[in-house]
Amino acid sequence: MDAFNNFANGTVALFSDPLGIVIFLSGVVGGMLFGAIPGVSMLTLAAILLPFTAHLSAEHGIMLFSVIYCTGVYGGAITAILFNIPGSPENAPTAFDGYPMTQKGQAGRAVGAAVMCSAIGGTVSAVLMMLATAPIADWAISAFGPPEIFALVFFGLAVAASVGAKTIWKGWLSILAGLMIAVVGLDPVGGIERYDFNMPYLLAGIHFIPTILGFFAVSEIMVQAEKKVTGAYSAPKLSVDFPSFSELWAHKFAVVRSIIIGFFCGILPGIGATLAAFMGYNEAVRWSKERWEFGKGKLEGVISSETANNAATGAAMIPLLALGLPGGALTAMMVGVFQMHDMEPGPLVFLNSADLVWVVFAAMFFANLSILLIGFLETKTIINLLRIPFQFLAPLILMLATVGAYAVRGLVIDVVVMFVAGVLGFFLRRTGYSVAGIVLGLILGKIGEQTFAQAMQMLHYEWTGYFSRPIGLALLIAGFLTLGASAYRAFYAAPVEAPPEESKSA
């Protein structure tokens, strides 16, 4: 009841202040735009705005950032679905199935599902955030150390081989290729230089954003261009059909599952929405009876990834506000906003500035609701972007992708990486490998390697140490069971060859 009263007070404080409303609405629109345009992201917007927040009150500054966070995580889904360009890494799994749906003429269903699920995931997460907070954060950091996070990543990767590849072997090779790319650069523990060929830029590792842009956007343009040249090209059919209510209801378990996964990943410091989206997607694959359909245009893929990444937003505020531990880059910038107002996020914020906390909570709740409203309004217009003929659209996409790759760190090498990935992706896709698998391996591999090394140090290099960590042990066993089952199917069961493909995209 307390929580409800506080929430009501926060809502009143938010909407009774004209300046607050203006900032709220600007945050909603700004986050969506910057999330949707490849090349810039909500982080770009946040970095631009950071110095200006000194002139806002603390409430308004933090509220603006939290609203941008909610809507920015959704915005990237649109370009992921329509053009195969994830606006930010947490939307990459959305492209796995969203873009194939566009090619099948189901863009409306995919975007509609993304709108609904982002809103549901975010709103539920905001409610959980209000009810949970401090005790949950303490529990999360004490129950989940590096050994458990590694086990979680392993559990997720165990099922990833079935995403988008023609056979399970090619699926595994794709994942392993991603894992190999992830080990380029300084090793996360001793700082040992690996595969750097004496190039200082390789020391920093191969960044996943140019890699994603290359494997998805650039290789897709080459695939379409080839079709255009050989006369096999047909423009994607336009549809503005929204997913029906019964269609979404049929995926209710996927939504609930993704909320739980997303919320959980969001709570862990340093993990955040990207892992949430990938894990949400992987679990959808694991629990599905039609796992070979994933990566080829399955609505459930879009639903799982978009629900999970928005569910992580509310959760990420918990360790930030309760413990002062930011979960990702954007929440880390929020720490900067707090500091500009002589505050430190942490347990004292709840005591000293409870009003502020509840205004932020209310703002996040309504920001997620407004995704639904604005999403519905814009979807029917935005889908018309697909009417642009390919020969005009392709250069535009290439330009945006190039800007996006360069903007990550301002390094030309990232643009080179993107084009190399594009060409590689083109050939890998023709031969039945999965670019989605490579990206999964790359992103989960970076987190996995670091937590593995930390876990081994903590357990004194003894695997048996896991016997004293039941959560980690359970996740590891579940992962091995999944691996065993898929190996069994590959050898003994009836061939699980995918049915004839409608499109070659993965």
Partner: protein, 342 residues
């Protein structure tokens, strides 16, 4: 130039005295520099770029933001920050060395640049290949435990407990080979005879979460970075890695108090311009960055990060001395550790 250095030097001495006396309020190191200064010809005619070899949220990102803001307030010239993280600062440094030496691009860097040069002399030497404009943050490290810890309560009981664990005790750290953290821990473990497993976390939040959540037994960190945990009463320092106790931590033993005898390594952050930039532009930048150190906003920032506990200011010459002695110190340590010094 000489006179200015003299002034700055004298001001530093006064500031040091003031800090020592516990009255850092009034005097500031560069109060004697002129409040305004004409442009050097038409320089700067446009915004400056500051390359920051770390992300925006960490200690370097924050000091870059605070200094850029202070310089802009002072001179009206805006500074665009360009973050190029990766490879422990190597990527940013390499990108910076490729920029033209026209004074428009400046660099933020930390003591990692000095230790990297000590290990491999083909890496740029910040004191010779760059011109330090100002060193604006100098701080020390401490070892922290949870406040509600009951297995040990102070340094003495901690050392005993760690020894009893026979190598199973853990401390969260940034343990890149040859880093300030790793070298300092080696000094400590060699002298005390404890065996402790160092767990490397390259980002702050998971590192602090590991101590708060009981994943590790202790934490190696600088006080400014964990101030909120200290203020909230969750962490407490049990050892200050300095020879003397600073006033704010008067009840925490220093290394000298617990019988450790080594020269403490400091963490420092500063701003640089490339060697070969026109002399009048360099002088203008030196004035701007040194004067900005004493602006109210920058001083407030440094104070909030515990950067006022020991003298945090060095001008160009002072920075060169600091870097040169740091490089020499690391080189000696690396040789003693058996690392290959190139």
């Amino acid at each position: 130039m000489k006179f200015k250095n003299y002034l700055a030097g004298a001001a530093t001495a006064i500031a040091a005295l003031a800090v020592a006396g516990g009255t850092a309020l009034a005097a500031c190191a560069t109060d004697d520099l002129p409040a305004t200064r004409d442009k050097a010809g038409d320089f700067p005619a446009r915004a400056l770029t500051m390359i920051v070899p770390y992300g925006p949220a960490g200690g370097s990102g924050q000091v870059a933001q605070a200094m850029a803001q202070a310089v802009s307030e002072l001179t009206g010239v805006s500074i665009n920050r360009d973050h190029k993280p990766g490879g422990s600062g190597t990527v940013g440094m390499t990108a910076y060395m490729a920029t033209p030496a026209d004074g428009y691009t400046v660099l933020e860097h930390i003591d990692d640049a000095s230790s990297a040069h000590a290990l491999d002399s083909s890496r740029p030497n910040p004191a010779e290949d760059l011109i330090p404009l100002v060193t604006s943050q100098i701080t020390f490290s401490q070892i922290y435990i949870r406040t509600n810890e009951d297995r040990f309560t102070d340094w003495k009981s901690f050392v005993e407990w760690v020894k009893a664990q026979d190598g199973k005790a853990t401390i969260a750290n940034v343990s890149k080979e040859g880093s300030m953290e790793r070298v300092t821990m080696k000094f400590i473990t060699d002298a005390t005879g404890m065996k402790i497993q160092q767990i490397s976390f390259d980002k702050g939040a998971p590192r602090y979460g590991a101590l708060a959540g009981g994943q590790v037994d202790a934490l190696f960190e600088q006080p400014g970075d964990v101030r909120k945990f200290l203020d909230a009463g969750r962490f407490k320092p049990i050892l200050t890695i300095l020879k003397e106790r600073p006033g704010a931590f008067a009840d925490v033993p220093s290394i000298k108090d617990v019988g450790l005898d080594f020269e403490p390594l400091l963490r420092f952050r500063g701003f640089y311009v490339k060697k070969g930039a026109p002399a009048d532009r360099v002088e203008w930048l030196q004035w701007a960055f040194q004067k900005a150190f004493c602006t109210e906003s920058y001083q407030k920032y440094n104070e909030s990060k515990f950067m006022n506990l020991i003298d945090s200011y060095r001008d160009t010459e002072g920075s060169k001395e600091l870097i040169t002695s740091t490089v020499a110190q690391y080189r000696e340590v690396y040789k003693a550790m058996g690392l290959e010094v190139k």
